[in-house]
């Protein structure tokens, strides 16, 4: 679209100025502010709008819940970063639908995890971090503003002071394993989502979220029965 060089009135000039400013904002990537990342359908009772870009969420739940959260955006083609999780089970992540080609792992950033997180936030839209220690308030707010600026969503495994929302677990149960027979088949979990005073609950079966569960049937592995 072309901008006329000679303007007739002051009002239209101001309008053009605003329009140009908006385009500058668009080019600078600030539009990410309004974007959210869609989640797997199982999480829609908790987070119907998905994860907001630039926000920090605290996941006080097992690692597999965090993997299931990342699976939605990752399967849509977004890059993900995982920092501070040395025992990240890549195969389980793949089972949830996380694309390993678009996942960057920094297993052990050690003391420099804040620097690592902000460096990853510069280039990746989604981060999963397990902080080895609780950060100071100043560090946390600096990181938050960096994330807001870059439009990067941070999932923290553990508590976080200025979190947008907290995902917790009220109870979980494994099924399928008997006394010497069977194998783990379902992982029922009651999740609770609290955000600014509101709480929402849902029950999900994490094992059912695996995109491609191996057909196993009734057979147990060789030598499974005592």
């Amino acid at each position: 679209m072309s901008v006329p060089l000679s303007s007739t009135s002051v009002a239209s000039a101001a309008e053009q100025l605003r329009e140009l400013q908006e385009r500058i904002h668009l080019l600078q990537g600030r539009r990410n502010r309004e974007v959210s990342y869609p989640l797997l359908p199982a999480f829609s009772p908790l987070l119907p709008d998905g994860l907001r870009a630039g926000a920090v969420y605290s996941v006080e739940a097992p690692l597999s819940v965090a993997m299931a959260l990342l699976a939605g955006p990752s399967s849509q083609g977004h890059w993900c970063g995982v920092a501070g999780v040395p025992d990240f089970g890549a195969e389980a992540a793949k089972g949830f639908g996380i694309s390993l080609e678009r996942t960057v792992l920094v297993p052990d950033p050690g003391d420099r995890w804040l620097v690592t997180a902000s460096a990853l936030a510069d280039v990746l839209p989604l981060l999963l971090v397990r902080p080895p220690a609780r950060p100071g308030a100043g560090d946390a707010s600096r990181l938050s503003s960096r994330l807001r600026e870059r439009g990067c969503t941070l999932l923290v495994l553990g508590p976080w002071l200025q979190a947008e929302g907290v995902l917790g677990v009220e109870g979980s149960r494994w099924d399928g394993l008997g006394e010497g027979h069977g194998h783990l088949r379902s992982h029922r979990m009651n999740l609770v989502w609290s955000q600014r005073g509101t709480r929402r609950r849902t029950g999900i079966d994490l094992a059912a979220l695996h995109a491609d569960p191996t057909p196993w049937g009734e057979a147990t592995p060789a030598g499974g029965l005592p």
Partner: protein
């Protein structure tokens, strides 16, 4: 008319000097360190002895024997397969030495090279002197050569082969090539089919063959026969085309005295790295795989190759050297499973302990510079790659990874962690697609320990659980996930699932373990590995 005739009549034939190193494939193997010196050894080609050492020869081994036959004559024969690449690579140093005294070398094959000797004769005074200079240059490398000078390449080669150990230089006077070749057998032509036919026709020597009229030879034996006839007459039409010496692309930085701090080395290496990249750029090449040799004062070497998704710049080269210096320690695998990282990422060679005296940079794989431009569409985003590489240079090469599915029975083996910018080893995908019977059923555990964690797994009597040889075991009762935790009852379990693989491979991948899947009293689910009463947690379902 043949070219041989034109050369023969038009002007004086060019004088040719041939340098020949006997048993070159064997010498090359010794130079490459694949064979010890002074030992009965043979280089095998297509199952037959191609070259053998004088020790083997004195034991009765000759060219053309089968390996078994050769070994029955000489039981301690060391046999290695022929490798034309090794022959050519090792010959490069000899060529450089010869080129320093006699410019314009034409490589006939590894071990044999020819020079037009006219200019060298003027410089050294005589052909004997020129040949002596070549012999001396090769002798300085500790090798033994023969030199022949004659009117054609073929005649000079035969002269070199006729030279003996005592007088390793044989000069056939100008115009004397035909007389010199006369008494040699026709087998010297190097064409077994033609030689056998000639012998059956009663033509046994090159002189007798050369005496036949050329048109008759052409009509009976075709163009190959005519060429052989020209050679036998001392009129070899083969021209000498001096090789263009390759531009050296590798660079080395020597430190004297040796440096022992990484930042010093990185700083001192910077100009060399820039020179290295600039030299490649001048040649129109981009380096995508780099080999770094680091030598320390005590003579130990560290070698490693590094890949790059696009091309190496000077800063990338310095980073790779720094990472190689930093990655000294190698984690030792413990328990029934080895470490998660494959051995390919560790540096080969010994650990450096003394100050570093030399760093060599060798381009291992290069590509045309024009083809390595930035992709407009597809590929990894430039900004992303740059950001991750910056993080990598801050934390270390092995700190920023991506996971690749690999094959294996243990969960830790099934995903290979590859440093950012490198490719997974060849065949990883094929390995991942194999069936792997006995795999853990889905859902898979989210926490997979890189090194299995020692745990306690007890039966009702408080004894460590043991499965007998038939896989029967008492029901487990107690579980303790580590020294810092309390004992928990086992609420549900399945197992033992036997995990027996590669019993014949004692060194590397033999594994004999029992697997259990359990849910403990705290509601946590675990995957355990056991071997003879010792238990490890392979993974946790969380």
């Amino acid at each position: 008319m043949s070219t041989a005739g034109v050369t023969g009549r038009g002007q004086a034939p060019p004088r040719v000097l041939v340098v020949w190193i006997p048993d070159w494939p064997l010498v090359a193997a010794q130079l490459a360190g694949e064979l010890p010196d002074r030992m009965a050894a043979a280089v095998m080609e297509k199952g037959l002895v191609a070259v053998c050492s004088s020790e083997a020869r004195s034991a009765g081994v000759v060219r053309g024997l089968r390996l078994r036959e050769a070994q029955s004559r000489c039981p301690d024969l060391a046999a290695i397969p022929a490798d034309p690449g090794r022959d050519a690579r090792e010959f490069e140093d000899v060529l450089a030495a010869v080129e320093r005294v006699l410019p314009g070398v034409h490589v006939l094959r590894p071990g044999l090279c020819a020079v037009r000797v006219r200019g060298a004769t003027r410089f050294y005074g005589s052909e004997d002197e020129a040949g002596g200079a070549a012999l001396e240059a090769v002798a300085r490398m500790g090798l033994e050569a023969r030199v022949g000078v004659a009117d054609s390449v073929f005649a000079a080669e035969q002269a070199a082969r006729c030279a003996s150990e005592l007088t390793s230089l044989l000069v056939v006077p100008r115009g004397g090539s035909r007389n010199f070749l006369g008494p040699l057998p026709v087998a010297a032509l190097g064409d077994p089919k033609l030689a056998s036919l000639l012998v059956r026709l009663g033509v046994r020597t090159l002189g007798a063959f050369a005496a036949l009229p050329e048109p008759e030879v052409r009509s009976r034996f075709g163009p190959e026969g005519a060429l052989a006839h020209a050679r036998a007459s001392g009129l070899d039409p083969q021209a000498i085309v001096p090789r263009v010496a390759p531009i050296p692309l590798e660079r080395a930085a020597d430190f004297d005295p040796g440096l022992d701090r990484i930042d010093q080395i990185a700083f001192a290496l910077r100009p060399t790295a820039e020179d290295f990249v600039e030299g490649l750029r001048r040649a129109g090449l981009a380096c995508t795989e780099l080999r770094v040799h680091i030598m320390d004062d005590a003579g130990r070497r560290s070698e490693r190759s590094w890949g790059h998704p696009r091309q190496f710049g000077a800063a990338d080269v310095v980073d790779r050297v720094r990472w190689q210096l930093q990655s000294g320690e190698t984690p030792s695998p413990s328990g029934p499973a080895g470490g998660r990282r494959g051995s390919r990422w560790r540096s080969t060679g010994e650990e450096l302990s003394a100050p570093v005296v030399q760093v060599r940079l060798l381009p291992e794989r290069t590509d045309q510079l024009g083809l390595r431009g930035q992709a407009l569409f597809g590929g990894v985003d430039e900004r992303l790659d740059h950001g991750l590489r910056r993080l990598q240079s801050m934390l270390g090469h092995g700190s920023v990874l991506h996971a690749v599915s690999a094959g294996g029975r243990l969960l830790a083996e099934r995903s290979l962690m590859v440093p950012w910018g490198e490719d997974a080893p060849n065949g990883t995908t094929a390995l991942a697609e194999r069936p792997w019977p006995g795999a853990v059923p889905a859902p898979l555990p989210a926490t997979v320990f890189a090194e299995p964690v020692p745990v306690e797994f007890l039966d009702a009597d408080g004894q460590p659980l043991r499965a007998d040889e038939r896989g029967a075991a008492p029901p487990p009762a107690w579980f303790r996930p580590g020294p810092g935790h309390g004992q928990r009852p086992v609420r549900a379990w399945a197992g033992p699932w036997p995990l027996h693989q590669r019993w014949w491979d004692a060194t590397e991948s033999r594994r004999r373990a029992e697997r259990y899947q359990i849910v403990d009293g705290d509601g946590e689910a675990w995957l355990l590995l056991g071997d003879d009463g010792q238990w490890w947690a392979e993974a946790r379902y969380d």
